[in-house]
Symmetry: C2
Subunit: 244 residues, 2 copies
Amino acid sequence: MHWVHETVSDGVVERQFELQGGSRPVPGLLWVPAEAVGPRPLLLLGHGASGTKREGYLVALARRMVRRHGFAAAAIDGPVHGDRRSDLGSNPVLTFLEFSQAWTTDPAMTDAMVADWRSTIDELEKLDEVGSGPVGYWGLSMGTILGLPLVAAEPRIAAAVLGLMGMTGPTRERIAADAPRVRCPVLFLLQWDDELFARDSSIELFGALGSSDKRLHAQPGRHGEVPSEEFEASDRFLTRHLTD
Amino acid sequence: MHWVHETVSDGVVERQFELQGGSRPVPGLLWVPAEAVGPRPLLLLGHGASGTKREGYLVALARRMVRRHGFAAAAIDGPVHGDRRSDLGSNPVLTFLEFSQAWTTDPAMTDAMVADWRSTIDELEKLDEVGSGPVGYWGLSMGTILGLPLVAAEPRIAAAVLGLMGMTGPTRERIAADAPRVRCPVLFLLQWDDELFARDSSIELFGALGSSDKRLHAQPGRHGEVPSEEFEASDRFLTRHLTD
């Protein structure tokens, strides 16, 4: 674990890291309460396609969970995203194009990202201020394409917020195989007017999740228009399932 | 308005009434905070088929909103239900049978219930401790079959919780005509394994609601298994939309 940079504001420490020693370097961010001591819930945040680990909605949710509930939170760049690119993610359209190509042609992409996340958990758990507390996952769209297989594979994840994605796309078979293996409580978000994922395919994916404790929240709006109400719902859901 | 009976417990006054002067007597219950003075939000509660205005889940929600938020709440018996029957609703199976027959053969049933609710609002608004504050509606299953037309027709209703019902049944055309006329914020509840209303027809009904501010919450379980989480969501939704 190489710590690149640290800032502190409003009681939240943000530490940029590069995880090394796995199959490839993993660029990430960790947020913890200032002067945190001892174990706490860890929330993993997966960004959407064309974004980075510094997306505004991820940083806002991370800081919210740290400030309000004393969580730790971490985000890593997706494949072909952010600091994994020579342009550092400054060209979202090119990033989106290259992700959609990798999604279509690189069957190892999902496994590599799952491995990156698992290495990230392994390393962060070694920190005194994170420890081996319960782990949650929050990721929509690409954050579900790559995060649902993680949640299916990783027993340390005790609750997940997924959505903005359906039983469709190049990795449809992988998703169909992994969905029933998701057993933890899930909040699944659906945008009623999603222009990228057909409503029926999203409803099908929710139905296929193996969790007995799951809920679907659907609201009007396009893919990128998740209302603040669902960030509040995410907060409540994760807090309920990851704290005593 | 004829007041039949009054009880007080845990700071909540429950008053049984029979509304007279409309086209037929309307038996109901009003809950208000003990020693309430001045206007407050009024929540109308529509029970499901075979039940009565005294269903446990209705009384619990009414008392919750009164105690926590100072609301007034009211429930009236549905057509062929409760105190409208000579058996006072003591035979749920016979009540259910007679309701399903009335739903099929009596096209005036919906209009009569809408009129009953509107008379109830008219009368309750005259009380100092209710007044002309914002009105909300909560009703699932039969509470939506008969309540959705009320919400569509009644501009005083500023927020509604509906669900456990689909674009189906003998009054399908009426529901299809009224759904786009619902314009207030709506929380719509769907039980994923509903044995009475097909999932697709419920999703279709949610889609047809005219409200721009609406959300669908779906959870595993059969028709009668709405989890406590959705009563909490109802509380938050109604409080958000009916209080300043």
